[in-house]
């Protein structure tokens, strides 16, 4: 995997993880173009995109788009499932996750991602193990549950 982007329906970037070394300028350019392209697509369209020389796999959960760039020989479907597994992990960790959880606790979302994908490769696919690792590191640290804002937004719908 080359990079993963999370952005909102309004095109606001929520999370970015780059597994290939790129300059800040390139990153910004790619993000801008890609967000535009993905947002322009209609809901019933294919989740895969050929974009430049990359393959983009994206999926929308509620108001958030999860978007991964993979190489040509990579399996598109399993990448979709990587996204799904990540959402499952977030859901389990935050407890019915919504966009605001990720906005306000983005560093946690990064920690979970790092336990799940390392250097662009699926590191640990057992959900239990990933969460165990996160919780161990988390210790008893409580994150601030912004219940107020949570009630405003719908949870990301997990099928």
């Amino acid at each position: 995997m080359q990079f993963m982007l999370l952005f909102s329906r309004q095109g606001k970037l929520r999370l970015q993880k780059w597994y290939v070394p790129l300059s800040d300028k390139e990153k910004k350019k790619i993000t801008r173009e890609l967000v535009q392209t993905v947002l322009a697509r209609k809901p019933k369209m294919c989740s895969f995109l050929e974009w430049r020389d990359l393959k983009i796999v994206y999926k929308r959960y509620a108001s958030l788009y999860f978007c991964c760039a993979i190489e040509d020989q990579d399996n598109e479907l399993i990448t979709l499932e990587i996204i799904h597994r990540y959402v499952e992990l977030l859901d389990k960790y935050f407890g019915s996750v919504c966009e605001l959880d990720i906005i306000f606790n983005f560093e946690k979302a990064y920690f979970i991602l790092d336990e799940f994908l390392l250097g662009g490769e699926a590191q640990e696919t057992s959900k239990k193990n990933v969460l165990k690792a996160i919780e161990q590191a988390d210790l008893l640290q409580e994150y601030i549950n912004d219940k107020l804002s949570r009630s405003v937004l719908p949870p990301l719908c997990l099928q």
Partner: protein, 1131 residues
């Protein structure tokens, strides 16, 4: 969750204290971020956001640099900085603090510090070096979490050069009792392997251990490494195939813990990884493939069609089955499975089905037939991605019966596509199809020209430049039939005239250039067309604002070819007048040509003969027609031309001020000195780059036409030759029911039964059936099928044809006209570009004399020296080239050789060269090549009748180690006697030439002591010795050497075997040892004084000798390459 917490608490008591700290600080810090985020969401304009963030950044900046900020606050600040960075604002000031936080914070703070580092910094960022110590410390920590964090950051980014510092620690972690640590260590090593494969070569056996790890997580992490390794070298890991099969069996059989299930499918990631590895191992290998048939079958069976994840596995299975050695019943199952994909209503599956089909039709085009109706539906799919993939599929099944329909579909898509990447790709494919099928079946001029016109218009200026080139090449080369060629050209001319008569302002520049060329070359074919008309049309292009100056060049060139009379001549005159003062030199040059040639029709006919585009251009790569100019320039004091290689060499050697006086540049050796050894680029490269330093086109030596003899003939009158042979051998007899006329299809419901999708309306159905019949015609029944795309290595558009025609070169640039009469015109532009240094030699001798005397003279080596008494010591330098053929009168005294010491006299020695002669003192020298060393012998002879006293000789060199074997026997030299000094020479660092500088001082009986400097030059070849090796030893050494260089050398074409002849010359001149000759390749070895080997790999390719040199010694390959070049040129 509670038990996890409990475990953690007992395992990590050291961290307990943290949690007992009051949480108020956390609360407030979190709310700071919260405030920021809320603040931003409330804003309405981008401008306001910018202001807010800038304020925030100032605040953060102030706080991070304050010494009172605690690590806890720092952690919170970093989180905010990360947030600002995500919004696209620069936070580079905080990078260093992120590193500090990772270094100094407690576990929680450290974690944020590491996270910030991994988000902020790039792999190559210099600040990462500061992280190395922190990582090192954390890797040794007893706290598991710290170790985990260190490994996590290392697996994401680490400075390549610092890997050795932490490698032992990471390796050690492979044996750690905790599986999470082992897993992360494996991934860290994977990362190291990706960025610096050499560093981890020694731990390959540990990878095997990781593969056998009892924890499935560690094992599956190790598969990343294996996938990479096997991709690079499948042969090396065949022995692991049974193990991979066994693992896959266990996984599929549900032997893994339930934790690894994903939607009740056992470890799908692991399965997919294994399938990819197996397909790499089984490719083109029947015996390895056989052991995986069973498990592939089982995987297909077990994966039920119910969830994305099983589709993912099935897709990978299908790909694997079609990649490995085929087995018919598996292929059948895979095809069926793929059919389900294609027919699926889920769009993602449909896409993958098409993709798989594209991959598979190359082996079995009949599969496309089964799905023809679905494919046709996909062709009209609203999602462009699906459409695009369908076109890709059609591209692969193109044959000469359906090509027109498929090309039409592709052009339709191009008209609506807005994506540049897709446009470039598709345009290339259309051009490829058009060109290929135009060549293979009955030429249809109209179709071809129209298609290409659309390609040029749609492709615009994104078009790859080789498309217009090969199109023009095809036009100019034509086919065997002169009549047909003429028709095609005439059609093109007509088509372009009518295009130009319309609105030409919308046409892309590249297209206009093509039009210009065609009209310039062929508009005379249309007899009713006055050249004046064409000129006027072309002149219109010049006036268009959108025309680039490159296009204008093409226009002027076309006008030059047209040579109109009458009124148009005045127009031409005006045009050339206007552009001859253009700022663009190219354009000015064209205008000049136009001016001169339009006035002199005789010259025009000679320079640009009609029908000459068929004849190959004679490329005079030695530029011999410039010899006169060169010798004039040299006589006027220009420096002789040096090939770029040598220039580079000298530049690097003489970074300091040049302290040597320039040699006299008399016209003595002009004719011979530089013309032969000039490494001249071909006319081709001159025209494109106008630079003398393109070493890539190293056609050297005598004048040659383009050498294309060695190129395999791929294309002939009937298309792709190899393909045709193959298809002739294997006609498909199992002709399926593919060629059906539309009405037949309508009647025949059997074909419909293959496609379960009900078709919406009979009318629409009819239409689609028609389309189907035209698209899939010839797929199964035809005796041949032209498969295009990836599996076809010849599908690239860059093809050299066996017919060496100059027209391609001519097309590349309008500069080069195809006749030999062009030199008077090209002369000027060529001269401008030649790398001749025409500045007069500087008189620096006065500056050179270190003692400040300013009247030192330059003198030729053998001039008589008249000594003037005034300066007490005089410094003068004379140079002599040691190469024997250089100065015939240098060896004044052949008897000097008899003074050679006895132990050396038996060995071969170079000619004794007189270095200087002054005041009755002669100094000569030669060098003797011993088996393992080189000895310099200097003869000092006293020709006077009196004693010479206090004779001292000192020899130095920058590149050579000089040790004195025997010095002057005495400080006195009797009259008419010779003193002999020997110096032992060893190479310090390789160089093309080794310059020895020597100082000799002596005291004549009457007068002041005298000093003279002289130099002596040895070629590298003096030090090169054969290195006797076996092929195996050679192979082992080849891999170990790091410095290398590659270049093409001229082959020597005498006798029957150019390779052997060339190697023979190298062997003779440079003492290289030819290890083995294998076909068109040869391996050669030599060494510089025993301990500095250099290996050479030669391959005959396209009439050149491609050499690749490798050595552990820097610069040696380059220098040796230069010597080889010289050796081959000096024949």
């Amino acid at each position: 969750m509670s038990d996890v917490v409990e475990k953690t608490l007992t395992a990590l008591p050291s961290l307990l204290s943290l949690d007992s700290q009051p949480g108020s600080a956390k609360l407030s810090s979190n709310s700071k971020l919260g405030n920021l985020i809320r603040g931003i969401t409330e804003l309405t304009s981008k401008h306001e956001e910018e202001k807010l963030i800038q304020r925030e950044l100032l605040l953060i900046k102030e706080q991070v640099s304050s010494p009172n900020t605690t690590m806890r606050q720092m952690k919170e600040l970093m989180v905010r900085a990360i947030y600002c960075e995500m919004l696209g604002y620069g936070v580079s000031f905080s990078y260093i603090h992120a590193i500090k936080l990772a270094q100094q914070g407690n576990v929680l703070e450290k974690r944020v510090g590491y996270l910030a580092v991994s988000l902020f910094l790039n792999e190559g960022h210099e600040l990462l070096l500061l992280l190395v110590n922190t990582v090192l410390k954390d890797l040794q920590s007893t706290n598991l979490i710290e170790v985990c964090m260190a490994l996590t950051v290392v697996s994401q980014m680490f400075p390549k050069d610092m890997i050795p510092a932490i490698l032992p620690l990471v390796e050690e972690k492979l044996n750690h009792p905790k599986e999470i640590i082992r897993r992360k260590a494996v991934l860290a090593l994977y990362k190291f392997y990706l960025i610096a494969p050499n560093q981890v070569q020694h731990i390959h056996n540990k990878f095997r251990k990781a593969l056998c790890d009892k924890d499935p997580g560690v094992m599956s992490a190790s598969l990343h490494i294996y996938l990479q390794l096997i991709q690079e070298n499948p042969e090396g890991y065949k022995d692991l195939a049974p193990s991979f099969v066994t693992i896959l069996k266990q996984v599929v059989g549900g032997k893994l813990p339930m934790d690894f299930n994903y939607h009740s499918v056992p470890a799908p990631w692991l399965q997919i990884h294994l399938l990819r590895i197996l397909s790499l191992l089984g490719k083109n290998d029947q015996s390895t493939s056989e052991i995986m048939y069973e498990i592939l079958d089982e995987s297909l069976r077990r994966a039920e069609m119910n969830h994305n994840i099983t589709y993912a596995i099935l897709y990978e299975c299908v790909k694997c089955i079609y990649t490995i050695h085929p087995k018919s019943d598996l292929l059948e199952k895979a095809a069926k499975c793929m059919g389900n994909f294609v027919l699926s209503p889920k769009i993602n599956l449909k896409y993958l089905g098409l993709k798989a089909l594209t991959y598979v039709v190359q082996q079995d085009p009949k599969l496309a037939l089964q799905h023809q109706m679905t494919i046709i539906e996909c062709l009209d799919h609203p999602d462009l991605i699906i459409k695009r993939e369908t076109l890709e599929l059609l591209f692969r099944i193109t044959n000469d019966q359906n090509v027109t329909v498929i090309v039409e579909k592709m052009l339709d898509f191009l008209r609506i596509s807005e994506d540049d990447h897709t446009t470039i790709d598709l345009v290339g494919k259309v051009a490829e199809l058009a060109e290929k099928y135009f060549r293979t079946y009955a030429p249809d001029n109209e179709w071809f020209i129209d298609t290409m016109n659309t390609v040029f218009s749609l492709g615009g200026d994104l078009l790859q430049p080789d498309i217009p080139n090969s199109f023009l090449k095809l036009l100019s080369e034509g086919f065997d039939s002169v009549e047909e060629d003429k028709k095609l050209r005439l059609f093109a001319v007509n088509s372009y005239i009518s295009l130009l008569q319309g609105d030409s302002s919308k046409l892309p520049q590249r297209f206009l250039q093509v039009i210009c060329w065609v009209l310039g070359e062929y508009s005379h074919l249309r007899e009713d067309l006055e050249p004046g008309v064409v000129v006027r049309l072309l002149a219109k292009l010049l006036d268009m604002k959108s025309s680039s100056s490159e296009t204008k060049c093409w226009v002027l060139m076309a006008m030059t070819k047209l040579c109109p009379g009458g009124a148009a001549l005045a127009l031409v005159h005006d045009v050339s007048e206007t552009y001859s003062s253009s700022l663009d030199t190219m354009l000015r040059q064209r205008a000049q040509e136009l001016q001169i040639l339009s006035q002199d029709s005789e010259l025009q006919a000679k320079v640009l003969p009609r029908s000459a585009s068929m004849e190959p251009v004679e490329v005079d790569s030695s530029l011999s027609f410039l010899d006169g100019f060169v010798s004039e320039a040299l006589a006027a004091g220009a420096a002789p031309y040096k090939p770029p290689h040598q220039r580079q060499e000298e530049l690097s050697r003489s970074k300091a001020l040049n302290l040597e006086p320039y040699g006299l540049s008399l016209p003595i050796s002009i004719s011979s000195c530089s013309i032969t050894d000039r490494q001249s680029p071909t006319l081709l490269s001159i025209s494109s780059g106008l630079s003398g330093d393109s070493t890539d086109f190293s056609h050297k030596g005598s004048s040659t036409a383009l050498k294309l003899d060695g190129v395999k003939r791929l294309w002939g009158r009937d298309g792709y030759l190899a393909q045709k042979e193959q298809t002739e051998e294997a006609p498909r007899i199992e002709a399926a029911s593919a060629v059906r006329s539309a009405d037949q299809l309508g009647d025949n419901n059997a074909s419909n039964s293959q496609t379960p999708n009900p078709t919406p309306s009979p009318e629409c159905d009819q239409e689609k059936q028609q389309l189907a019949s035209s698209l899939f015609v010839g797929l199964a029944s035809q005796s041949f099928l032209h498969q295009m795309g990836k599996s076809d290595p010849t599908s690239q558009r860059f093809r050299r044809k066996t017919k060496a025609s100059g027209s391609a070169e001519q097309i590349t640039d309008p500069l080069v006209s195809p006749s030999d009469g062009s030199d008077n015109l090209l002369y000027k532009s060529l001269l401008d570009s030649l790398d001749l240094d025409v500045s007069p030699p500087e008189q620096t001798a006065g500056l050179v004399a270190p003692n400040g005397s300013c009247d030192a003279e330059e003198e030729p080596a053998d001039a008589d020296v008249k000594e003037i008494e005034t300066p007490p010591v005089r410094d003068e330098r004379v140079t002599a080239e040691a190469s024997p053929h250089d100065d015939p009168d240098g060896s004044k005294d052949p008897s000097l050789a008899s003074h050679l010491p006895a132990e050396l006299s038996a060995l071969s020695h170079s000619k004794v060269t007189l270095l200087f002669s002054k005041q009755n003192l002669d100094v000569s020298a030669c060098h003797v090549q011993k088996e393992d060393s080189v000895v310099l012998v200097v003869f000092i002879s006293n020709c006077s009748d009196s004693f010479l006293q206090q004779i001292r000789l000192q020899v130095d060199s920058e590149e050579l180690e000089v040790s004195c074997v025997s010095d002057c026997p005495s400080e006195e030299l009797k009259s008419h006697s010779v003193a002999v000094c020997q110096y032992f020479l060893t190479v310090k660092r390789p160089s093309v030439h080794f310059d020895l500088s020597a100082t000799v001082s002596w005291q004549p009986p009457a007068g002041l002591p005298l000093t003279t400097q002289f130099s002596y030059r040895l070629p590298l070849a003096t030090f090169v010795r054969a290195l006797k090796l076996s092929t195996e030893e050679y192979g082992a050494m080849w891999l170990a050497f790091s410095h290398d260089t590659k270049q093409n050398l001229t082959l020597i074409h005498d006798g029957w075997d150019p390779l052997a002849a060339t190697l023979d010359v190298l062997k003779r001149k440079l003492q290289l040892h030819v290890v083995e000759i294998i076909g068109v390749e040869a391996i050669v070895a030599c060494c510089l004084q025993q301990d500095q080997p250099c290996l050479m790999h030669c391959r005959m390719h396209a009439g050149m000798l491609a050499v690749w040199l490798r050595s552990p010694v820097p610069d040696l390959p380059d220098c040796l390459l230069y010597c080889c070049q010289r050796a081959l040129q000096e024949l």
